[in-house]
Amino acid sequence: MKNIFAVAGVVIKELYRRKDFYVLFIVTILICLMMASVNIFNDAKIVRYLKEICLLLVWISSIVIAVTTTARQIPAERENRTLLPLLAKPLTRAQLIAGKFLGCWLACGLALLCFYIFFGALAASREHQWPLLNYFQAAMLHWFMLGIVVALTLLGSLVFAAPSSNSTICFIVVGGILFVGRHLDQVALTLLEPTRTIVYSIYFAIPHLELFDVRDLVIHNWPLIPWLYFSLALLYALGYMAVFLAGACLVFRRKAVN
């Protein structure tokens, strides 16, 4: 385990020493503050549009950070030849994959923490309330969703040759699932066989990332998600993370590193 944490630590250091996170965070803050300064019928209590814009920016930024940070991990190690001295240590390939995943996931978690603290402060400045449990549920579900994205991107980085192609494909897949994943079964009904079966299979096979998008519940102050379903969703995410990581270990085991 110490090996895994050691590798994870390096990834986290990389996140806070690169500019990506700071640029996205500052852009988010600037856009939100600009939106907050707009006069809407002289009513200072209007807040939901601001929450929506902020959460949208948080989601976009977090997915960008997750995909770009993860996509370059293994290829950068390979390109800089740091993979060789790393694997020459008593570190298995599976431990390396686990360490990279944990590092990227924790790094995303830290970034999310900063974003959600800002979001909470922004919302509280108008709503004058702190529904902490609701925010906690939203942030945790968001973080676990990013875990699936990180695991998927890590697998992609071992399958696809270039980080850019991996990033592009991951963005398209993640975006596609978020927008239409919930409705694929309805789309399947309108199709003929064998396309219908294929689409149905995709519907049941893909990780339903849209389950973790509870922005509407936060924006419109809906009650808490029942804790049982909340826990089941986290377990669902862990399951998919395990599947993608197992796939990554399997692919990496057979890959030449020289």
């Binding site: 390096v10 990389e14 030849r81 060789l84 020459a88 008593p90």
Partner: protein, 247 residues
């Protein structure tokens, strides 16, 4: 004497991209032994199979057939790498880390305790003369400094066997001298050094034994004097062994 590094009929084949050839043989039945405490030079022209041999020994590439072991343990076991240090050729270490952080990272992987790791880091940075730059990010280092930090990381666990791939590549004469001094110091401490190099003059100076490999086959193995034989220099002997005749 039990070999610290041993290969038996080691064969490595790669799938060839050429239409007419199905596989490319990188190593063809390599038998090699390196004894404890010796400095062993592994020589050969470009594409001879030196790096492939090292890749097999370090577990990067599985052999097609044959065996390879370190300290009597099969190279495919991660534990075999617990007592070795490795310096690859032309490595650009993590740019955003400092030298100290890089060494601490590798020390954690070896499971060194904090106090022991701190002591080793101080010692190694002094050895490779990077104390003044320990807090600077590696991206600000010159090539020579990067090579030295690479050497330091290969020694972090105080290894019994050091595997160096072209350790003096890209270094100036002063840098090469420093590397030779370090190798000689390690030899005095009883460490075993296995390295590949194109600098035959250095090999003559530091090595106890050498092996010459060409086109995946071991062509010669023995002490420097044995290999040099009747030739004026190791270089001339090398050229004859690999079949290059001077006009």
């Amino acid at each position: 004497m039990t070999a610290i590094l041993k290969t038996e009929k080691l064969r490595v084949e790669y799938r060839s991209r050429e239409m007419r050839q199905k596989t490319k043989v990188a190593l063809c039945g390599l038998d090699l032994e390196v004894h404890p405490g010796e400095v062993f030079g592994f020589l050969g022209p470009n594409g001879a199979g030196k790096t492939t041999t090292m890749n097999v020994l370090l577990g990067f590439v599985p052999p097609t057939s044959g065996n390879a072991s370190l300290f009597g343990i099969d190279v495919r076991q991660p534990i075999a790498r617990q007592r070795i240090g490795y310096l690859p050729e032309l490595t650009y270490y993590y740019k955003f880390l400092t030298a100290e952080e890089l060494l601490r990272f590798y020390a954690k992987i070896f499971g060194l305790a904090r106090a022991e790791a701190d002591r080793r880091i101080d010692e190694l940075l002094k050895l490779v003369e990077l104390e003044h730059a320990r807090k600077r990010p590696i991206k600000s280092y010159s090539k020579g400094m990067q090579q030295r930090v690479g050497l330091a990381q290969s020694l972090i666990n105080n290894p019994d066997l050091l595997v160096l791939d072209e350790p003096t590549s890209g270094l100036d004469p002063l840098g090469r001298m420093k590397v030779r001094e370090i190798i000689q110091r390690l030899k005095k401490e009883g460490k075993t050094v296995f390295f590949s190099s194109h600098e035959l003059g250095e090999v003559e100076t530091v090595c106890d034994r050498v092996a010459i490999i060409h086109q995946g086959e071991l062509k010669a193995i023995g002490s420097v004097n044995e290999i040099t034989g009747r030739h004026a220099s190791l270089e001339k002997a090398f050229l004859e062994i690999i079949g290059f005749t001077t006009p």
